[in-house]
Symmetry: C2
Subunit: 372 residues, 2 copies
DNA sequence: CTGAAAGCGCTTACAG
DNA sequence: CTGAAAGCGCTTACAG
């Protein structure tokens, strides 16, 4: 049974200290690169530590230093099974969240932090508990859009520093998001003034998504201000998914409705579905109807026609989110941009004009994706 | 400054105990659903805890119970920037790892564990340190394929329970992988016997990937055993990427080489590149050349032609990995399938016959992907 | 059923 | 420059 000579319990700082003939304080100091330890001490500790294969226990370290060096990241996972259909559909949308997480991770790493990730299904009943549990395991949380209600957010913020990636926020929760209003207004101007479309529509995302509200209102207001018509309302209520876009178009067509000259979608996913449904009915984009998205996911430029959309600095959102959270963690309180409220960082976006709005195609876009 | 009435330090178990008029032991017991506490005690604790918004500190809990309820997951991240080109190319491959992680997460959650994720670039110089650091923050590690050398694996395994998702392993590291040999032999038989191809080739993945080695050898051996020719070697050395597949085919064609009748690729990514390069040169698949993949990623069925490939139970790999790791963590030692070595779990795979090998198309595959 | 007390493995003032 | 000692916030035998 005891073929292993060494004890089965991992070495602690005491073992290292004993072996090096110093106090645990000294071991701690050299291992943490503290000021003083003199070379001789340093060498003996390093040697002993290496021989023992010592790895400091994160829990003990966290308890003692009051810092876990771990941030929690919670994001919404589409109710995905790994079966073909819907998954393939939502694969791209996963990318959006993953890109953000990647941004978080890169700068987190720079600060010596690791990510505790947790994907959730919004319908989950025990969600609040789950999040509280992970809150206990980290120094702060970054919550993607659509994972918690404003009330839920506030509750979590009472327990740990929180950065939200939604348009909402307030109280002690900081927010990092990208600009929506200006770019959507620019899009409206482009469609109305540059292309001369007079009849537009906006297919909305989740009704309770703050970003969606801003995007829709900005777009519609500007279009109308320019004298164009802009359809909105229940008939144009999507849900950020390709399937949602498909349904809306199919529904409208089956009702015999006259489609608008241009359709602006709440995101690229939705636009993908719209393109599909339009093609299904033999309608040409942008010839018969122009279509636009929002996000500029990688696939946007590989669609046929290439999708005109608004580019969000996805990875940068994650990077900024961590920076803000980190400062909240270290300063102990809400990283306020002003001296009063928690931070609200707005990243710039940019209108990307491609084929689907009626602009000429970009010649340089070869890709394996053309094949798919 | 002190507009907040409550202290800025979060409540501890002592605060709850005081407020409920019981000992911290009792608080701990009811909060952990232990046997005894009687209803009266229980209620007071719960009430006090709720009023205070108490969330137990994970570090303290971990230190005391010797269990962090956290597992580390390390996977290789393609050197991706968020710029278009290569990213779009590798997006699908990210999906593979993410699917595995999803599988891990689902069952981890069931056991009350969370995931500490860490993506690495293999060329990273500080990789060993990074991994040791995260080892200190969790109860065990799951390492995806291609993140550590066998020696590196062994080193980590000395510090914490480790499950590897590669073909390699041994020592104290458990392995979870999927069957490769049988399915590749079946593929060879299918191509040679059912389709009558006599001249085949295998485009390899990373040379140091155990799975790749097995796939290549099984395929080639079987093909040759059936009297067919099978090209392998340096000219057919890929790297699991689409770009790799493209290069090989382009190189061969530019050399004026006569291509084989069928090309089996180490994975779907590679096959994607091969399809692209072949199309580029006006070659028809499967008319002129048959092509097959391995993995059955979601996009495989949406390619034109639909890709014949070998399906791996991706999510299941993650699920099994966690199960094994969990048992290693709780039993304290390598979850051995036998009584000697660490576990080596092999999951079944299945040959999926679609168009690219020469079989008739599957009529039922509509998808937004058709558009992309 | 419940409390007092020890202990988990570190870090960090505090004195030399 | 270094050690003795306290303390981080929990869990869990051990005695009632």
């Amino acid at each position: 049974m005891d073929s292993h000579p060494k004890a089965d319990t991992p070495p602690t700082i005491y073992d290292v200290a004993r072996r090096a003939g110093v106090s645990i304080a000294s071991v701690s100091r050299v291992l943490n690169g503290r000021d003083n330890p003199r070379p001789a001490t340093r060498d003996r500790v390093l040697k002993a530590s290496a021989e023992l294969g010592f790895v400091p226990d994160g829990a003990a370290r966290a308890l003692s230093s009051r810092l876990k060096h771990v941030v929690g990241v919670v994001f919404r996972r589409v109710y995905g099974t790994d079966d073909g259909g819907t998954f393939a559909d939502e694969a791209e949308s996963l990318l959006f969240g993953d890109q953000i997480n990647r941004g978080i991770e890169i700068v987190a790493q720079r600060y010596g932090y690791d990510l505790l990730v947790c994907s959730v299904n919004i319908d989950e009943r025990t969600l609040p508990n789950r999040i509280m549990t992970i809150a206990g395991k980290c120094d702060g949380l970054i919550l993607h859009d659509q994972v918690l209600s404003p009330a839920g957010l506030a509750a979590v913020a009472r327990v740990a520093p929180v950065v939200s990636l939604a348009g909402a926020g307030g109280g002690d929760v900081a927010v990092v998001r990208s600009e929506s209003a200006d770019s959507m207004r620019e899009l409206a101007r482009h469609l109305v003034q540059d292309h001369g479309y007079r009849r537009l529509a906006y297919i909305a995302g989740h009704a309770d998504s703050p970003d969606n509200v801003v995007r829709g209102r900005s777009f519609a207001d500007e279009a109308r201000a320019l004298g164009a018509e802009c359809l909105t309302g229940p008939a144009w209520q999507g849900d950020y998914s390709a399937a949602g876009g498909v349904e809306i178009v199919r529904g409208l067509i089956s009702l015999g409705a006259t489609l608008p000259r241009a359709i602006a979608c709440a995101n690229d996913q939705t636009a993908l579905g719209v393109l599909y449904a339009l093609a299904e009915h033999g309608l040409d984009v942008p010839g018969d109807i122009a279509v636009t998205g929002f996000d500029d996911l990688p696939f946007a430029r590989h669609l046929r026609p290439q999708l005109t959309t608004v580019r969000q600095p996805i990875q940068e959102i994650g990077a900024q989110a961590f920076e803000v959270l980190h400062s909240m963690i270290t300063t102990g309180q809400p990283a306020s941009t002003t001296t009063e409220a928690a931070a609200d960082i707005v990243l710039p976006t940019r209108l990307i004009r491609r084929e689907s709005c009626g602009c000429p195609p970009d010649p340089a876009t070869p890709s394996w994706r053309r094949l798919v």
